[in-house]
Homo-oligomer: 415 residues x 2
């Protein structure tokens, strides 16, 4: 009962509209700009790339989130990342935000920005601003508008990513409960790696929640969702995750880490996990989603490190692409992950939808039925279970296989 | 004058012979076992994988090196790694070393072992021991025997790797100088990554040097050679680097960190660097060697981390395969390497044999002549120079491009 999946994405929560358009930033004949707009000033929380080289819109957003001022809009473009652009990139942020503020009649400091695409070139200001004018005029609260926005922010993504949930919280009036909504969209396919919130993701909610707690919830949830996926080990210069709260659900304002806060965190986890897993499964060139669950680790951080090492291993990724049950690759990736463990106590299982087999136990790679292994490795979702037999902590990481197409996509990305 | 390249490999130093044979461990019709034998008891130093899962022969060798007893022989097989084999793997080490000791008439504790290949299966003891008997009978001090040994230890390597140098040191008699030799062979193509001595590498020297200093020299040199190459970010369970000293050159025993020690270190660096760079350039499926030199970093460790991050980036590797001058990939890889730096002070140059171009400067990706970039990226050796403008430290790392063939080789490794 508590948390229900509902249709929609970034417009599922009360007070949010979205739009998208063909601005011709880099590619012809495709939508390449999107806007999310809030009817009322919103509390905002965000996490950003840990890369030392931060794109101009990342610096712009970090400043706004740090100040804690309410926000009203997010403007996103694809095609060019506005990274490695120095002062010209920052000037473009100021000018596009100012233009958006004018056409939307809101303060420039309430406009968040996002860019994704090639690093280096400067964004064309005239086309950006023309796009923003179109976006401002075509805002809509429909699910279709949200979906179109999620399509417009794609780069090498093969599918758009959006999801939404609803849940109930005590009402502000004190009588019964009200329904609260949380939805979002994300994009990301290459340059995806733990160690920050990954790629562009925009969430909206109508939940009334203290801004500090919103930020705290986001940080906690990111550690087990967006930070647990990897496609290629490359941490982008533009990674951004933002959540905007309109507080229009009329729930009792969440001001403490109570039951309502915990339910909100659970809903946030549900949405972030769904978007994160879809990004991992849609990694550049991917034909498999790889899920690695590490259980009975000694510490949470070790569990995460071990799980991430397996899904990040080029050899594991290539082996799964080739449906080759080469268990030594998994064993090896656990071994160089960093945390200490006893290889004699470790077990590794390959788990399918209806069947499973043991890869490794008692210090030895096990012999197994190769046909059964091939059948398990032919499923789209590959589940590896690593039992460290050391403690009580667990973590799950997601990634994808390494294919010819990954090399092809990235050998010739700019053209 | 001081250090001269000479022909040969593992038999270049006085007192060492080598042999190889077809033992039929896993593959038919190829040499898959090699032996290095010393006429006299040798001091030995070694560095081993940092992987928590260590192959049986690694544990065997670590024990011998730790004890500090003199060694006489190294027996290496390819095809099966004897890793993930538990107690059965250790028993096989004891039994093969005992057999080698019998046929060579030396102590079992003076026999070092090395294995490379698939993780999991048990080595066939009968074929191993039959191979050892053949190896013991065919030992030779010729350069051809050394070359054959370096071929026999290959797995997915496309070329064998061996090198040797000669240099002069004060004689033991006190009259003039004597010529000292140092040579070696290595193998490694996949599962190559910094953070340990990489892959199998066996060096021999006739230099008389205190065992503690030999180990110290090896550790120092490894940090800037074998630990600065990467192919795929995977640290193997079997990585081993051993250096054996016969002390037959009749130089004055090196017992302090004097000029002789420094010259020996320089020779060791020359040999290790040569073998390491050849391994990087022969990475699985590689079509380019990538060299990244980081200069003017604030600390040595930061210089190393930055250089390694660039050669380890899947996106940089794929971009170089595609000859796509996508400078943002290099910028991004420096940014997530860990060390702090100011993107405004950084410059990145692409350097060819006769020409070069600036990728990035003053916080901005530069515009450059695409045809010139294509010409530079068409050279086999790709040189990237990253000037951090922060301090006086520098480091160089080597890797290779990421190609379809890497995926192909590793998607179907066991078959």
């Amino acid at each position: 009962m508590s948390i229900r999946n509902i249709p929609g994405g970034v417009t599922a929560a009360r007070g949010f509209s979205a739009s998208s358009c063909e601005a011709g930033i880099k590619y012809p004949n495709r939508k390449d700009m999107a806007m999310v707009f809030a009817d009322v000033p919103c509390a905002v929380a965000g996490t950003f790339t840990s890369n030392r080289v931060k794109a101009a819109p990342v610096l712009w957003n970090m400043d706004i989130v740090k100040k804690g001022e309410p926000v009203r809009a997010v403007v996103v473009n694809t095609g060019i990342a506005n990274a490695g652009t120095g002062e010209a990139g920052m000037r473009l942020c100021r000018e596009t935000a100012a233009h958006a503020a004018r056409v939307l009649d809101i303060p420039a400091g309430s406009v968040l920005l996002g860019s994704t695409g090639v690093i280096g070139p400067n964004l064309p200001l005239d086309r950006m601003n023309a796009g923003i004018s179109v976006l401002a005029k075509s805002l809509s609260k429909t699910a279709e508008a949200a979906t179109s926005a999620s399509v417009a922010i794609m780069t090498t993504d093969t599918v758009n990513k959006e999801t939404a949930v609803a849940f109930d919280l005590p009402s502000a009036s004190g009588e019964g409960t009200v329904t609260v909504h949380l939805g979002g969209m994300s994009k990301g396919s290459g340059m995806i790696h733990p160690n920050m919130c990954t790629m562009l993701a925009y969430l909206t909610t109508d939940c009334a929640i203290d801004r500090g707690l919103l930020q705290k919830a986001l940080r906690a949830v990111v550690a087990d969702t967006f930070n647990m996926i990897t496609v290629d080990g490359d941490t982008s210069t533009n990674d951004t995750l933002l959540v905007l709260s309109s507080a229009l659900a009329e729930n009792r304002l969440i001001t403490a880490e109570d039951d309502s806060y915990r339910l909100f965190c659970q809903a946030l986890f549900t949405v972030c996990r769904e978007l994160a897993v879809r990004m991992a499964g849609d990694g550049e060139g991917a034909t498999h989603l790889i899920e690695t669950r590490v259980i009975h680790a000694d510490t949470k951080e070790n569990a995460r490190a071990l799980a991430r090492s397996v899904v990040g291993s080029s050899l594991v990724k290539a082996m799964i692409y080739g449906k080759d049950a080469n268990c030594g690759r998994v064993l090896c990736a656990l071994g160089y992950a960093g945390p200490d463990f006893d290889p004699e106590r470790l077990t590794i299982d390959l788990q399918g939808e209806k069947d499973s087999l043991c890869f490794y136990r008692d210090g030895c790679v096990q012999t197994f039925d190769e046909e059964k292994a091939l059948a398990l490795l032919s499923e789209h979702d590959i589940h590896l279970l690593c039992d460290m037999n050391m403690g009580r902590e667990e973590a799950t990481a997601w990634g994808c296989d390494l294919t010819y197409d990954y090399v092809k996509i990235n050998g010739d990305y700019r053209t």
